[in-house]
């Protein structure tokens, strides 16, 4: 962890935060992600044939399940694991805290995308944008929980305090998710049988379709890792900038204080405190 050196900088000539040296592997992952995503788009839109039943709608199959997998599993594993490792005294390091926070923030994007792509698919197939299906409902609740975590994270605090607070919140959310899952599952399926096609299990079609389907998981996972890495770097920079700003405003406050003392002393000595205007002639009539 390279943070800004805690020397007090002069207010004006504060050195800009050094731009991060992004590790080489992150570039590689990003590049691979772009390539895999390009192939997915090409295969998904041009090469694969339209589905027998759903026509071109089935092409959503090449993005929606992959996005949902990232949103539910990868994000969950990184966020919960990072928080747990932060709280564990032996592995306590801000690295885990930042990693978990980055995962949740990327997770918000992926959860929202899951809902949007699912909604786009649901409108023509089910006839509605939204239905109170168990998976939809639990994903929506997951999104709200993640937004709550990010709101908590934005509350200013010292870094270790914030890290501990957020790690506990993440774990509390993590234990809630299975319960949310089961409760909405029962809620929806107790009275009526599930009538929905599950898009994840319909890939016994042409080989090009299943290959594209598999490739999409690789592509979105790579994109997830890349986003996670970039977001982690941004998190490091944000903390550094926050520290820098704190130092600067502290320095300003110090110099203000000293200048104020120097100015105030001779002016006030021996002079009568000026009276406010209204205190003299207020009751003339």
């Amino acid at each position: 962890m390279s943070s800004v050196a805690p020397t007090r900088p002069a207010a004006e000539s504060a050195a800009p935060v050094p731009s991060p040296s992004r590790p080489r592997w992150l570039h590689v992952v990003g590049l691979l992600g772009v390539v895999a995503m390009g192939f997915t788009v090409w295969l998904g839109l041009w090469v694969t044939p339209p589905d027998v039943f759903q026509g071109n709608l089935a092409r959503l199959l090449y993005i929606h399940p992959a996005i949902a997998t990232v949103a539910l599993y990868w994000v969950g594993i990184v966020a919960a694991g990072g928080s747990l490792l932060y709280l564990w005294p032996r592995t306590r390091s801000l690295f885990w805290d930042r990693l978990a926070a980055s995962a949740v923030e990327v997770g918000v994007i992926f959860s929202a995308l899951t809902l949007v792509t699912g909604s786009l698919w649901g409108r023509p197939v089910w006839g509605v944008w939204w239905t109170w299906d168990a998976r939809l409902t639990s994903t929506a609740l997951l999104l709200l929980l993640e937004i709550g975590y990010l709101a908590l994270r934005r509350v200013p605090a010292d870094l270790p305090v914030r890290a501990r607070r957020c790690a506990v919140a993440a774990l509390l959310i993590a234990v809630d998710i299975p319960i949310v899952h089961f409760s909405v599952y029962w809620w929806n399926t107790l009275h009526q049988a599930g009538t929905f096609l599950d898009p994840g299990f319909k890939i016994h079609a042409s080989p090009s379709m299943s290959w594209t389907f598999l490739l999409s998981f690789v592509a979105f996972s790579l994109v997830f890792v890349w986003l996670l890495g970039v977001r982690y770097q941004v998190e490091v920079l944000q903390d550094a900038v926050g520290q820098e700003e704190l130092e600067i405003s502290l320095a300003e406050r110090w110099s203000e204080g000293r200048a104020g003392e120097a100015l105030a002393q001779p002016e006030w000595s021996g002079e009568v405190r000026p009276q406010p205007e209204w205190s003299g002639g207020g009751a003339a009539p």
Binding site: L145, G148, V168, L172, D176, V184
Partner: protein, 222 residues
Amino acid sequence: MWHDAVLVAGKDLRIEARARVGLWQVVPFAVLVLVLLAFAIGPDQAALRHAAPGIFWVALLFSTVLAIQRSVAVESGEGTRDGLRLSGIDPAGIFLGKAAAVGLQLLALQLVLWAGMTLLFDVRVHVVWLAVVASLLATVGLACAGVLYGALSAGLRVRDTLLPLLVLPVLAPVLLAGSKAWEASLNGAAASGTQWLKILVPFAVIYLVVGIVLYGPLQEAG
């Protein structure tokens, strides 16, 4: 731990008995939610009766947020939290005590809501044991999860706006399971209601255990 819990719960309840914030603010608020939701649904007696369990639980959830905020506010002034921390009381005891105090208030509140529901919506609880068991389990879950999130938001300047956002989605399973269990007990269909206890039991147990374990680290973070 248990002795400390009794001490803390007694302290909170004594403050509550003297300040009467719960009695004069939280209880009227809960009844107000009942009435407002009835306005939103309309005067159709059948529809109201159908929606009654949901209304009951929504009112209870909102009131839980108020009760939690109150429970946090009691500890927020004049370095009270530090005092509590320095007193050598086991953090798990503090957690259990505060949860017990909140839980007892919530139970009293549910009695009022039940009476209000009977009067306003003309519903009758047919399977009493199911409703009572569901309420007890849900109360444990609500109080434990609520006190945990209250502690999480305790030192924050924005806690009053942040707490509902954090805690309400987490409590959603209780709302679902509780209202379904009550629906079953209103309709006299015990068999379909008991299944929902399988949500309420793990929720209560998990947050009870997690609270006992995590309340200490959480307090240090505040």
